[in-house]
Symmetry: C4
């Protein structure tokens, strides 16, 4: 159990406590982003520009936060985003995170850069998806996919926003280029036990998605789609879901805030696929706004790491519990009994004022 | 009488003096809001984004601030909003507030969470309305309504924005969860003298409004309507007025600023009901802007508490006098002899620039 | 002559030096405004939201800043606004100001609240207009008009934005309510030498303008028009010019910035009258922007007082010279040889982006 | 080679190191601008208001940054803008800058106010263009053009935004009016070795462009075009390219940010001429955004001077390498293999939200 001080009343409290506990270089690795970190800031800021227009007297009673994702129930529309190197935050690493996600009844997306192997993480008992950077070595890629399948992962989340590495100045200043001794990307182990380096593949194209489609029956989601034209292509290529993401501002600094991109993606998809979104979610109202604008669920990354740093599995659980309670309260106060009750008429914002629709819709026109 | 220092030239002065006098936990209880307090700030900020385009040479002479509300005259379009626990601010509590409101010739809306009984408050002699959180126990609710009627209250203000409690982090940090010994919600006393806890009812729906309509002949206003669709429903259900409110930012953090919601509600109501608004009014120009955008009157909450903390009834009177004089001056300088002379052409603002109408109109379309 | 330190490179320098020299209460009397001083700030801020889109290769050669106003030539489109109590800034008071304006070849608008008599001011030799608060005592008003005519004033600038006094909190805090002994509003002297108090007339209407029209052949300009409907009425009532003004933010706090009001007034007037504007002009580019948006000339108030405080007539001259040189340079750099070459296509700004025209046009539609 | 500290991770680092090394008056000469420096700030700020909407899965592989400009290949769409007085930054002056540009395979635009002669600069071996202030003395102007031609310059960049000098307050405060002894504008030497002063010509018009067209076969670009009408005239007058520039904010303070002007110029030109842009480019994403909005290339001025101050040719090279690597990464992350792959659908921004197109398009309509 967390002490009261550790727990924190809100995610900003948890972040502050995590910062106190982490090595500065590790805090910065988690907190930082690419370039001038405009996009890191923009992700959070985008939520502060939206306002909720609640309904009243809807007699909602108890709320039901459950959603159905890829045909399976999830306890709430808040999932654990894939993030690297959990053992930098806590010795238990991704195993602790998985335990908390399992207790919370939600999905954890295991990072390809996890510091625990997917089998060990799966042993925690929850529902896992697996995040994949498709490697130029197709055989190795296929082996990783089979390993994820064997561990029981229920979906592949294919990162498509990383043809090259983003340049993270905080890491360069710290000289943080490698994991400390004893830690490794366990899911990159080769058959001989050697740990491969994750390669970014600048040649990655739609044909690789088709190839993946051919080697696995797992649902495939694309992570990192911001442009409506790509969303339409994704539908045409038969993928199973989209994750609107800018990699937490860690790849292309200056990329559009994910909440600003969401409506354009939702419009382009037209209900044919679930649309998830990550980046900047810190309050239950943020979740509500993303859902009202068409997201099926949100994913949280840094807050999970903060919780992990503060209290291991209990800390992650606290973070997920805070968000669940906050979302439950926000739904009630907005007159919604369940996520499906939310719609865009509940949200007002600067880009809606002019009555010309949101940013990305225009962009993708 | 107040000393000069206590009096203050404007409401910010009165607030500063109140803060010096109040226990920090009590100041924070009055000042704070839910979550990150975005909506608390937004309520005030919304007024700073509107500008008055005054008329000249209208020969208005002396102004007449009186309005007619629910068929009865009120000395000015500024009423006292329902707020809890006045005895935290001053030993005389709601009785002092009522005395000031009576002297000022305006309506005080007595809170269901008042620390004086409605009969005692009514003895101060002014015109009272009664704010009601409909309780799941219908019999008790009916008893409270009868008690308010018996005390002479002239309208019911039914709070509809609180199916659950807002989470107020300042109070949680202070551990402020209950009234100090000796203070109680006097209007929640049962027949046996026991004080009930006010329950938020997540099941509250329109049928309860109909039930209230059946047990009392008092006019019924709904407090907490922000969405135009709810305003239309309210008209259809035969209520007698609307109070555009987000509970001073104390329930749903992220809720739209009330001034931003006002035009949409006014348009939806189409003149069929009086529309009141609370939240963020600090200057006479603020009142003018709200009236010009279609409000019949405004209510002030925190400023009344500041005045009460600073000087009891005299302090509240000073606050109401400041607002009255400020509104009178603003009307004159805008070329209006009376509230009815104001119209939306007198107000310019960012959401009007694009010529597409204000936020909430779009929202509710 | 000014020392280098006194002179200052720009008006902000001059203001800083003036602040060092003036009594705080007098600095605040000049600098302050009504209420929360939103409009004081908005006047300057409005210019920072407009951008110049210059023309090139126009071969303008030397610029000619002269304009024709009410049939008479003025050396530049920058006039001296009427402001009160110049002897608080410098012993020579309005006489020094008039001498500087005369040297600069521009018009000084003498304030009804001048601390030198109009005859003494006129003796400085320049072209004067006279600012008038029409007094309820018509006979006295007529006497003042005759006195201004006799002193050689060439136009009446009738203030129409002051049916009551604005409430200036800085003055209230200082207890600054009256001129120091020895100083008086010399233009308010009665036939018996007694100095009358300037009365604000809440009953002032268009019929008084007609009455003024009947007692003088001087051109009549209305000072304080912000609403397009009033501009149309002014045309209909046969006045000779409009001054878009909010009294420097000293009367109605929250009034629209004058630059934001200007396009609406210009559109309403449709070229039938000269439109002047005051408030917030601090740089040559500001003048250029106002002219490009349709103003015939601008007036400067506070900068003149700063110059006066710093160096008497030489200080005022320095201020006017700075503005003249700055405007000359700005015209050249924008590709304009003279004020008449400027048009709205040279200005970009946030309220033009949406292609729906500026604020006040919408407001007055 | 630069030490690590000198090198800096980004241009802000290089600027900070340059500031430590330069005389304050020289730092301010490079950093400062005209008037209140609104336009200096606006140039950088304009980039922070645009967001990239990247494409994914484009299989771009290695990027190719090369572009073709005026019929010749350039290694990347980042050129060295003409700036004055490089020997204030480093003893090697423009020769060092040219060496770095040559190594980087890009164009250096030699300033008419260079402190090394164009022949000496040309000896460094790279591709040069020559920036020209057309002088009233046509013979001398022709001599300068012949000298630039003889030195091998491949284009003339004719500055058209400077009919008069901008007023730079930082220089006035420092009393910085002239080059230190030993330094001179070497390209202004007369046949007798005397150095002429560069004159700004307020009479400069299109006929002088025609005259230039007649005396040289070099391509002619106009530097300083912001208004779409001038862009259309430039096309009609047969110039070979446009450089959207406000002289780094050093001439007309209040001039539109270049990025805000770009789309209007691009639309006016309609692909008939290459459109370059300078001002405010500090990151690879900035280059990407300018290209996506229609620029053929960007020019950087102050960053080159910072690099020069920090490490001579190596410092400039470091700056160009940083930008090249940053642009390469940004292209990859936006799904573009080469500059030509970029289009306006990749950019979102406030002035695009309303769906009414960008600022300058409206302005020039």
């Amino acid at each position: 159990m967390l002490t009261l001080d550790e727990a924190g009343l809100n995610l900003a409290d948890v972040a502050a406590e995590a910062r106190r506990r982490l090595e500065p270089a590790h805090w910065d690795f988690f907190a930082g982003g690419a370039g001038g970190e405009r996009t890191v800031r923009a992700n959070e800021a985008a939520y502060t520009r939206r306002w909720v227009v609640p309904r009243v007297l809807r007699g909602t009673g108890e709320r039901d936060l459950r959603i159905c994702l890829l045909g399976e129930p999830v306890s709430m529309p808040v999932l654990v985003a894939p993030t690297a190197f959990h053992r930098l935050a806590h010795p238990d690493g991704e195993v602790a995170t998985a335990r908390a996600a399992a207790e919370a009844g939600t999905v954890m997306v295991v990072s390809m850069a996890a510091t625990r192997g997917v089998e060990e993480i799966a042993a925690a008992g929850g529902r896992l998806w697996f995040q994949l950077y498709p490697q130029p070595d197709l055989e190795f890629t296929a082996a990783v996919v089979r390993r994820a399948e064997a561990a029981g992962c229920r979906a592949l989340v294919v990162t498509v926003d990383s043809p090259v590495f983003g340049r993270r100045e905080r890491d360069l200043r710290h000289g943080f280029v490698d994991l400390p001794p004893g830690l490794a990307c366990e899911n990159m182990r080769d058959t001989d036990g050697r740990v491969r380096t994750i390669e970014m593949d600048a040649g990655l194209g739609w044909e690789r998605i088709a190839w993946l489609r051919g080697i696995t029956s797992l649902p495939i989601l694309l992570k990192g789609v911001l442009h409506p034209a790509d969303a339409r292509l994704a539908v045409a290529h038969g993928v199973d879901g989209l994750l609107v993401s800018n990699h937490g501002g860690r790849q292309l600094d200056g990329a559009l805030a994910t909440l600003d991109a969401l409506p354009g993606i939702v419009a382009a998809v037209g209900g044919r696929l679930p649309v998830l979104v990550d980046g900047g979610v810190r309050r239950g109202t943020d979740v509500l706004v993303a859902l009202a604008l068409g997201a099926t669920a949100v994913l949280v990354g840094r807050p999970v790491l903060w919780g992990l740093a503060v209290g291991g599995a209990a800390g992650v659980r606290h973070v997920l519990d805070l968000l669940r309670a906050d979302l439950d309260r926000a739904l009630a106060l907005a007159g919604a009994a369940r996520p499906a009750d939310l719609g865009p008429d509940l949200v007002a914002g600067p880009d809606l004022v002019a009555g010309c629709g949101p940013v990305a819709t225009v962009v993708g026109a």
